[in-house]
């Protein structure tokens, strides 16, 4: 495998960071300001996309910024897993920006300049995590993301936003300082490096089994962005944010950074072989499946649409963790693909929730009876999005779940198979009633007039696009499947 | 050595320790700010006593080399007669000159502060000041 030194990954990160400057300076002219966001988004996406052929060829792209500590540099490395994630995040940023314009202007939100600036910052951090070559760089961008999203979560600046913001930071910053930081230092102390490698840099000789197990557990819970119970309750709280924030950050960027970090730690730090030989994957798998089932059950009882989606996200994130925990090639492929597939499905759902809020001001599911008559496009997109999250064809979500199911068989973990199937049933149970009630109800039951009155086009176009992509991914899963397959090949050394 | 002998042989140390304790006690437990300052000065003086006493020797003289009474020249005679044993060590004394300057300055600043405190609160009793602050 050959390594190419290129500054591209750094540029991909810097584009949105630097975009903050023109965004702030053109604050008096909203159109120009949004132009900068789009420009940065498109440039970022093209830089990321331009790396696909190189990576699919089996090469790596590396760039070292500075050696900050002995043997640890701020260093970027683009591999297939990182690229997959970066592709999803940067692609969806463009879509979300379009949606943000519609949403924020539709609601005449205050402080839009701050909003767009921190959004750009958050994306820089996300791509930074995706391209980190070692644990320190990953931690750096992980923290940057936590802080950059704080003003977004608390955008409304009212008492509710403050208490949610507190919860958000307590969980996310608290766990990363209290768990990840010491775990990282101990890891460094034991192994002398933090550089991710394909088979992991931790060796069984470096520490006793209990220490390794403890470190793994600390890491997994420390990356609270992954929403593993009991460190999940920041996510429903973060739903006070404007919907585009929930859509991109709390269905894609932030939460996926959490699972991505877990994936990296499992494969790049400990390594599949080590975890397999110590049988630690199973422990992790049980933790993840507990979260999957619990989150789905809680989701059933939520009336607020965004909160239901949040709990659904918590469950789906643990699918990805489960994929990593099963340590089999198929399951890992499924887990990685799920990063992309779930992203498109879930973002569609959030866009729909936002569109409903913009058009009608409704947040609760019980108030949405008959809404399909008024907003048929939105609700149809919602239907496709839920199919993808449940994992039914013809949507991309089916493929990733299929691989996960195959993985459970491959890993000989039948209980997990039932977890996955049971969870799919639960997913269906909390999604179907929503659009069933939206379309199929008597005129008396309907809370809406029988006249089409959709949200602004800026809101509708993105959700149509993402739902279309969800379907498209079923037929052409290529970049994701290819990248995930390659990543697994590297990890398993096959 | 008998306990009594220890005390007597090193009486200079015992004096400085005693003075120091008096000073420390006043600094920490007196209520009147001026008394605290007096304690501080006693404390500093104790250390000066300590330093000065370690330079002193019984039967030694001041460290000034006298002219040879016959020839009037210093050097030749001095070269033969200088014996450190005969002179007190001047260095600790000199050091204490500096320390005295320091302690006087500290005293000055402290007294100036007390004047300011008196102007501000109308009292220099610590408990009364604390009462006013609350």
């Amino acid at each position: 495998m050959n390594t190419i030194v290129s500054i591209k990954p750094l540029f991909a990160i810097l584009v949105s960071l630097l975009a903050v400057i023109p965004i702030v300076f053109s604050r008096s002219s909203p159109n120009l300001r949004e132009f900068w966001t789009f420009a940065a988004g498109i440039i970022k996406f093209s830089i990321v996309a331009s790396m696909i052929p190189t990576i699919l060829d089996g090469s790596l792209i590396e760039y070292t910024l500075a050696e900050v500590l002995p043997g640890i540099a701020i260093k970027f490395r683009v591999d297939s897993l990182g690229l997959l994630f970066a592709l999803v995040a940067s692609g969806l940023w463009i879509v979300t920006s379009a949606y943000s314009v519609g949403y924020m202007r539709g609601l005449k939100e205050h402080s839009q300049t701050r909003y767009f600036s921190f959004f750009a910052l958050a994306l820089s951090a996300t791509i930074g995590v995706a391209f980190s070559a070692n644990l320190l760089t990953l931690y750096l961008f992980y923290e940057m993301l936590s802080l950059a999203t704080y003003p977004l979560v608390t955008h409304h600046q009212d008492t509710e936003a403050r208490s949610s913001g507190r919860k958000y930071l307590t969980y996310i910053l608290g766990t990363s300082i209290a768990f990840v930081l010491p775990a990282m230092l101990i890891t460094y102390n034991l192994s002398g490096t933090l550089e991710f490698s394909n088979q992991g840099f931790f060796t069984a000789e470096a520490a006793p089994k209990t220490t390794i197990a403890a470190l793994l557990v600390i890491f997994v819970f420390g990356f609270a962005k992954a929403g593993i119970m009991p460190f999940h309750s920041w996510l429903p709280a973060a739903m006070v944010a404007p919907t585009p924030v929930s859509a991109l950050l709390h269905a894609v960027a932030v939460v996926k950074v959490g699972v991505f970090s877990i994936f990296r730690v499992v494969t790049g730090v400990f390594g599949v072989d080590l975890l397999q030989s110590l049988d630690l994957g199973t422990v992790l798998a049980y933790v993840a499946s507990f979260t999957i089932i619990m989150a789905s059950l809680i989701a059933l009882s939520q009336d607020s649409l965004k909160r239901r989606l949040a709990f659904s996200t918590i469950g789906q994130l643990s699918y990805i963790v489960l994929g990593a925990a099963l340590l089999s090639p198929k399951s890992m492929t499924g887990g990685m693909m799920h990063i992309g597939m779930h992203a498109f499905g879930k973002i569609t759902l959030f866009f729909c929730a936002g569109a409903i809020f913009v058009a009608t001001g409704k947040k609760n599911i019980s108030e949405m009876v008959g809404i399909g008559r008024r907003m048929p496009i939105t609700m149809f997109a919602f239907f496709i999005g839920s199919l993808s999250v449940i994992g039914l064809p013809p949507t991309g979500g089916f493929l990733s779940k299929w691989y996960l199911v195959l993985g459970t068989i491959e890993a000989d973990q039948l209980p997990m198979l039932f977890v996955l199937l049971g969870s799919s049933l639960l997913n269906a149970a909390y999604f179907f009633p929503i659009f069933y009630k939206a379309f199929f109800c008597t005129t008396e039951e309907s809370l809406f007039e029988n006249r089409m009155n959709e949200a602004p086009a800026w809101c509708i176009a993105p959700l149509v696009l993402t739902s279309a992509v969800s379907i498209l991914l079923f037929f052409y899963p290529q970049p994701f499947l290819g990248l995930a397959g390659l990543a697994v090949q590297n990890i398993t050394g096959g | 050595m008998q306990p009594m002998e220890i005390v007597l042989a090193k009486y200079n140390y015992w004096i400085y320790v005693l003075l120091m304790m008096i000073g420390l006690y006043a600094m920490l437990s007196k209520n009147n700010l001026v008394k605290k300052i007096i304690g501080m000065s006693v404390f500093q003086a104790a250390i000066m006593v300590f330093y000065v006493s370690i330079g002193a020797k019984q039967g030694a003289t001041i460290p000034i080399i006298e002219d040879d009474p016959i020839t009037g020249h210093i050097h030749e005679a001095a070269a033969q007669t200088i014996n450190a044993m005969h002179y007190v060590n001047p260095l600790p004394h000199v050091l204490m000159l500096t320390a005295i300057v320091v302690s006087v300055s500290t005293l000055g600043v402290a007294l100036a502060i007390i004047i300011g405190i008196h102007k501000q609160y109308g009292t220099i009793e610590e408990d009364e000041i604390l009462e006013q602050i609350r």
């Binding site: 910024l65 500075a66 900050v68 500590l69 002995p70 701020i74 609601l107 005449k108 939100e109 205050h110 402080s111 750096l140 923290e143 940057m144 802080l147 003003p151 608390t154 409304h156 600046q157 009212d158 008492t159 936003a161 403050r162 913001g165 507190r166 930071l169 910053l173 608290g174 300082i177 209290a178 930081l181 010491p182 230092l185 102390n189 | 420390l24 600094m27 501080m40 404390f43 500093q44 250390i47 300590f50 330093y51 370690i54 600790p92 050091l95 500096t98 320390a99 320091v102 300055s105 500290t106 600043v109 402290a110 100036a112 502060i113 007390i114 300011g116 405190i117 609160y121 000041i129 602050i133």
Partner: protein, 501 residues
Amino acid sequence: MTPSEQLPILLVITPLLFTLAVSIAGWFNRKICYPITIITLSASLYISVALLLQVVKNGEIHYHLGGWQPPFGIEYVVDHLNALVLVVISFVALVSAVYSKESVKQELPDKIPQFYTLYLMLVTGLLGMTVTGDAFNLYVLIEISAITTYALIAIGKDRALISSFNYVIMGTMGACFYLLGVGHLYIMTGSLNMMDLYKILPPLYSSHAIFVSFILILVGLWAKMAFFPLHEWLPNAYTYAPSAASCLIAPLMTKVSIYVMIRIMFSIFSPAFVFEAFTAHNIIIWMAAAAIAGGSILALAQTDFKKILTYMIVAEVGYMVGGVWLANRLGITGAVLHILNDALMTLCLFLAAGIIVYKTKGHKLENLRGLYRKMPVTMGAFTVGALSMIGVPPTAGFFSKWYLISGAIDAGHWGFMAALIFSSLVNAVLFFRMIEVGYFEPFRDNQEEHDHNTALSPKIDEAPLSMLAPLVIVSISLIVVGIYTGDIVDSIIRFTVPAGI
């Protein structure tokens, strides 16, 4: 001798002479005090950077005052450790001098010459403390800086006088203990020169007198650096000092005292004595852990943001003391690095606090209300300082914490590590408490009226440029120093760890 060989003495003499110049000039025209101060401190910064470069290039510099050979004369020594501290001192002094202009004009309009006289005198004292290689000379310089600090604090408002008085008592006690310790050393060795003492002492390491002298010196310095539980004087003194004075005192006094402690531990005594013959180092690390925890907990109880910052200083002192006493390479590297980083962080926060006081005339938490909107630049820089205190990469604070925690792991000292993590968490809580007030209040609770864009938000109302520029420079330097940590450790701090560790 060429001028470049005279740099060590020029470094101390320049501000000393200009102290005189400022006080005389103040009689005629108080407007020129400020420019004189700036020029003097720029010269100091230039000299100290030149010294640092010389040391990095050629190694230690020994300068004999008046040409007297040590141990008879006073010797100034510049090595990697104090060259770094000198640069920190003169940088901090210059930056906060630039900043002080408007703040002094507002807070002390009739005491401008006095302020700058004391200011330069304090800088002289601090530079002298750092550069001297003589134990008694060190005492004199400690007292010079202490006395000027008492005065600088006392010219503040509110409770400044009584706080300064408490500081006088504590500070004098500390200095006296130090002097007493040096006296014991002198009795045993007959020398006051540090290098000389270092050579004479080893056979005496088992002596009780040496043991006692070391304890006396340590306790004296701990009182000076506000090492928990001798910290009682610090919070009030630093809170009620004039803003411009606290910007100079808060970042430097404790850090220079810690430097002095390191100097005494490794240049008069040696690791062999400090970590082996003197068996208390484990206790001291626990004391440091207690300092960190205690400072953090006390900070939680405050409602005055300047006082919160001062309690953080108490906690940070624990970081550095503990780091040095961990007795391993990582811990000492971390402690020295933290001298640099903490000076910058504290400076950044106190500059920001000073600006807030300048604008809002108070230092209670409620004075922060709505400041993110009103003063985005100040609060942005404040946030960077806060993140560095919490230890978020890539700010400088993260990297020294990294070294300190690694040192704790290496030494197997889990209590100290836990204290460090705990303090990071508490710092996060404290700063976000401040940030919340600045960001959320006054609340905008009426959900229906979202577009209050202009009605609710007051216009941007920033401080003058002469205050903002230093703040922004310092906050950027926090990130730059963070990114260049590797180089700093490699070319300077690596050499400060004594041989044999």
